[in-house]
């Protein structure tokens, strides 16, 4: 007989050991990146993609909507940031606000069109909308700069109280990106482990049952789509700062496929932390394998194929398999 004392009080505090490890890694990266032969800018890239991937996984892994066009919202964020700097004001928070706002609006609009669909129809339509945005970015030359994109986007200074930080310095910029990624990760973790996150997972497993116990499935899908687009927009704004430009490639089908691949390889289907592992693995493969051979993408692709065939739960699933509890029972909460 199970009594209340057997019920874990988990799902409360986000400060679990993976979170500790993650935040510690994020906070100390500049200290050890160079000594192990990597470089500062890589940290920026990884932090931005982690942000993008974690937001994306709420949609992909949690509620199970397989969007193959999410690069679009990264791109919309990047363009919005650039356009704000050029046309409105050179402002850090203004630019990032515009990036989030634009991606949220686009996400809300597309989400409203897509949330009635599922499976292959959802996937195809998400690609369709993604291509629509990508094509617009190329064709609306007078606004977006066409295929060249927006160049020379400034990195405005960060002002906190009387302190002013020049973000053109890559180290300072890294701290800024890392702080935002850390904060958003805490928020997303909380969301994923609150009732909201549990309902998303229930909907993924059985939409019919979810609606027959009273959940408005459409609304949950739409909200999740919009939220993941908003996070992608924020990542896109930071990406525009990092690259000091915004260009159509950011929202290409290639980018959209890349994020799906990272999340799958990392194990976003079974763990909140899967996407983080996937992003790390990708960038390590790119820089380490890429240093050895020009055909690194071939090897990465092969690894992806083997992974999907042998371990569809990804790296996170692999790790979970290793630390299964001795009595053979799965940990009470599917996702840690």
């Amino acid at each position: 007989m199970i009594t209340l004392s057997d019920i874990p009080r988990r799902g409360g505090s986000p400060f679990t050991w993976p979170m500790g490890l993650f935040l510690a890694g994020l906070a100390t990266a500049p200290l050890w990146l160079a000594p192990i032969g990597l470089y500062q800018y890589l940290g920026v890239e990884i932090a931005i993609w982690i942000l993008f991937a974690l937001g994306f996984n709420l949609l992909f892994g949690y509620i199970g909507l397989h969007s193959f066009g999410h690069g679009a919202y990264l791109g919309i964020g990047a363009y919005a940031f650039g356009l704000f700097q050029k046309n409105v004001d050179v402002s850090l928070w203004g630019g990032l606000g515009a990036a989030v706002l634009a991606a949220t609006l686009a996400g809300a609009l597309v989400g409203a069109c897509l949330s009635h669909r599922r499976g292959i129809y959802f996937a195809l339509m998400s690609i369709g909308f993604g291509q629509l945005f990508w094509f617009s970015a190329i064709k609306l030359r007078h606004i977006t700069g066409g295929e060249d994109g927006l160049l020379g986007i400034p990195r405005p200074d960060l002002v906190i109280g009387g302190w002013r930080f020049d973000l053109n310095d890559n180290a300072a910029f890294y701290w800024f990106v890392a702080a935002i990624t850390g904060l958003v990760t805490l928020v997303l973790w909380r969301l994923a482990n609150a009732p909201f996150g549990r309902v998303l997972q229930a909907i993924r497993q059985n939409e019919t049952r979810a609606s027959f116990v009273g959940y408005d499935v459409w609304r949950y899908k739409w909200a999740t789509f919009t939220l993941s687009a908003a996070v992608a927009g924020l990542a896109g704004g930071l990406f525009a700062m990092a690259q000091q430009s915004a260009y159509p490639d950011v929202m290409s089908l290639h980018q959209s496929g890349l994020i799906v691949m990272m999340v799958l390889v990392g194990g976003g289907l079974v763990s909140f932390w899967g996407p983080v592992l996937g992003v790390l693995l990708y960038f390590i493969a790119r820089d380490v394998l890429g240093g050895l051979t020009e055909t690194w993408l071939l090897w990465y692709g092969l690894m992806f194929v083997v992974m999907v065939m042998v371990r569809p739960e990804g790296v996170a699933g692999l790790l979970q398999g290793l630390r299964r509890r001795p009595d053979g029972r799965p940990a009470p909460l599917g996702k840690a």
């Binding site: 007989m1 988990r10 997972q201 229930a202 116990v213 009273g214």
Partner: protein, 247 residues
């Protein structure tokens, strides 16, 4: 006044008329059986009554309120709950959470980004209570997909009960169960009947005749007879149409 009524329900899929003309009137506190041969439209009838399909004609009321054409989640929130013939569970989720998710009090915090999932003792307590009702309290931490067929049937009913329904629709609850499990299910429904209004599709005639207060016989998408089990058994026409053959 009847708790739940369906008046002249019609449902077509393309050119095929599945429900020709269904009228039901279910009194509060009763067990109402629905029987009929395969393909008679019983499950479609449930789908229409609980919102999965919108009827092409007719009117459905619950507690005096017109609920025709409302989406499933709105109907569920009114206190209409159902189980499925083909089981519909959250398979990768533990048994306790399957029930927890169905509690109206959990649904009320479902959008909350900050509450704890298992942190609310009152909620988990209530979920365990429901599990105890169907005898699954010891399996609370097993994944739904790890349960045996009979236990999954019981969980299916537990999830429907967790929604704290005022009326419970059960679609062939004995389907696939052995004699033993069918008997314990009969005991369970016997216990539930004092607390819930129950509408039940069933092929097992003895099971249905033992439990139901009234039975509607559906054939060719129409209600061809409606009466008490005793009266139906005496009805030569029903008996001869092979519907009550096993009774």
């Amino acid at each position: 006044m009847a708790l739940f009524t369906a008046q002249n329900i019609q449902k077509r899929f393309g050119a095929r008329v599945v429900l020709e003309n269904i009228s039901l009137s279910i009194e509060a506190g009763t067990v109402h059986g629905i029987m009929g041969p395969n393909g008679a439209g019983k499950t479609t009838c449930f789908h229409v009554l609980t919102g999965q399909h919108r009827p092409d004609a007719g009117r459905i009321t619950f507690d005096g309120q017109d609920i025709t054409g409302l989406p499933p989640h709105r109907i569920a929130r009114l206190g209409i709950s159902r189980s499925f013939q083909i089981m519909n569970l959250f398979d990768d989720t533990v048994v306790l959470e399957n029930v927890l998710l169905a509690l109206p009090a959990f649904r009320a915090i479902g959008r909350s980004p900050t509450r704890k999932v298992f942190g609310n003792a009152a909620l988990t307590d209530r979920a365990l209570e429901v599990l105890a009702l169907v005898g699954l309290e010891d399996r609370a931490w097993d994944k739904a997909k790890a349960l045996s067929y009979g236990d999954r049937r019981a969980l299916e009913i537990a999830v429907a009960l967790a929604a704290e329904p005022r009326i419970l629709f059960l679609d062939e609850p004995t389907s696939g169960l052995g004699a033993e499990a069918t008997r314990s299910l009969a005991t369970l429904i016997g216990r539930l009947r004092s607390r819930y209004t129950i509408v039940m599709i069933e092929h097992d005639m003895r099971f249905l005749f033992d439990l139901a207060d009234r039975i509607s016989v559906i054939h060719w998408g129409q209600v061809i007879a409606e009466d008490t089990p005793a009266a139906l058994q005496a009805n030569k026409w029903v008996a001869r149409s092979a519907l009550g053959g096993t009774a």
